[in-house]
């Protein structure tokens, strides 16, 4: 969405979610397996939350999107995702295992976490690239003037239809 709509969106979200926004500053590193590693190539993301007093690391694996007739009837994208918090040398560990940095970006913006039929997170952020390796202080927007709005909610195989319904319902408030 365009930058000048962000303030209006923030006011709308404040009203809808009923919680205070949280600042978002996440350094995301996308690692891919080296050429010989694994029978198939693999990808893992390391997220470093720079808003915490000490940088807090999370390892994230996102699987493929749900496909098939069932998926076509759902209005949102359903993907498997597994996350784990990790201690600070997680990047060195994955390098030692044979993973290489494919790309990195810095997301800067804000987030709302709230409960509305499901535990929903909405983030509004600019996606920035670093001109030098890991130089988060010198990041520039990938698409200047445009921000990314993402709405996510965790679900299990038992409850994902309820979660999908909650997300679809919430997203209707955001339609232009």
């Amino acid at each position: 969405m365009l930058l000048h709509h962000v303030e209006a969106l923030e006011i709308l979200l404040q009203g809808l979610c009923g919680v205070h926004r949280e600042r978002l500053r996440i350094h995301e590193m996308c690692l891919k397996s080296g050429p010989n590693l694994g029978l198939v190539a693999s990808e893992v993301r390391l997220l470093c939350d720079l808003e915490q007093p000490e940088p807090a690391w999370t390892v994230k694996h996102v699987g493929g999107a749900m496909r098939g007739a069932g998926a076509e009837q759902i209005s949102v994208l359903v993907r498997t995702m597994v996350e784990s918090k990790a201690s600070k040398n997680v990047l060195r560990v994955f390098y030692a295992l044979g993973y290489k940095l494919d790309h990195e970006l810095l997301r800067v913006g804000f987030a709302f976490h709230f409960q509305r039929g499901a535990q929903i997170t909405i983030t509004v952020s600019s996606v920035n690239k670093m001109l030098k390796l890991h130089a988060t202080d010198e990041a520039v927007p990938v698409t200047p003037g445009i921000q990314l709005v993402e709405v996510t909610a965790p679900a299990s195989s038992e409850n994902y239809t309820e979660v999908v319904a909650a997300m679809s319902s919430f997203c209707e408030y955001l339609a232009p």
């Binding site: 397996s33 694994g38 498997t80 597994v82 201690s87 040398n89 060195r92 560990v93």
Partner: protein, 222 residues
């Protein structure tokens, strides 16, 4: 958290560990008034790289271990000893490794036995057994001193306890003795304030020592 020494049984040359030694060790703990509390169990898993071409095995770590500890039921630890790396993560990191399919969990070792309280010390005596077998591969002991969490400050009292313990055990004339390896925690980026990451490193060091001892005994037999 309290400082802990992890000891492993070093059999005398030409002997192997057996369950009778484990029984004697447990009886010795009770003999010095250790009060039996409950069971404990830790697990160590060897991970091996899945490679498209075997020729490049040397590029990947051969000592990549995963460890679960009873005092941290929601955590999992990775150690790559050769590169002095230790990682603490949530249990879900195991699921992530399964999904990545770049490394597969191969052999797993269980460390299990009983826990004892002895004044300000908490002791654990355990057998080392492969996950799907009954054969005893080793004996391990944890000595935790509850009042102190500084590795440096605890050294004297831990040494004194170790000497008392060795002396009590020596009266049973067993074919071996307990050994304490002191890893260089600083090389792993850890401070001298004790954490479960320190414990994970001690377990990794002990298993490396056990493997080296077994390989050395094998080459002598050959």
């Amino acid at each position: 958290m309290p400082v802990k020494w992890v000891l492993h049984w070093q059999p005398n040359a030409g002997t192997t560990v057996n369950s009778q030694i484990l029984t004697e060790v447990s009886q010795c703990v009770e003999g010095i008034n250790g009060v039996k509390e409950g069971r404990w169990k830790a697990t160590l898993t060897f991970y091996r790289p899945m490679l498209r071409e075997q020729a490049n095995m040397a590029e990947f770590p051969r000592d990549f271990l995963g460890i679960s500890l009873p005092e941290q039921p929601n955590k999992y630890y990775f150690v790559i000893r050769g590169q002095r790396l230790v990682l603490e993560a949530d249990l879900t990191i195991q699921t992530i490794m399964e999904r990545l399919q770049s490394y597969k969990a191969r052999v797993a070792l269980n460390f299990e036995g009983f826990q004892y309280q002895l004044g300000d010390f908490q002791l654990r005596v355990g057998k080392v057994v492969p996950n799907h077998a009954e054969s005893l591969r080793g004996i391990l002991m944890e000595v935790e001193y509850l009042p102190i969490s500084s590795w440096d400050k605890s050294h004297q009292i831990m040494e004194e306890f170790f000497d008392i313990w060795q002396e009590a055990l020596s009266k049973r004339s067993l074919p071996g003795h307990f050994v304490h390896i002191e890893p260089s925690f600083g090389e792993f980026g850890l401070s001298e304030q004790y954490t479960s990451q320190h414990t994970a490193i001690q377990y990794a060091s002990i298993v490396a020592q056990m493997i080296a001892t077994a390989q050395s005994a094998q080459s002598v037999r050959n």
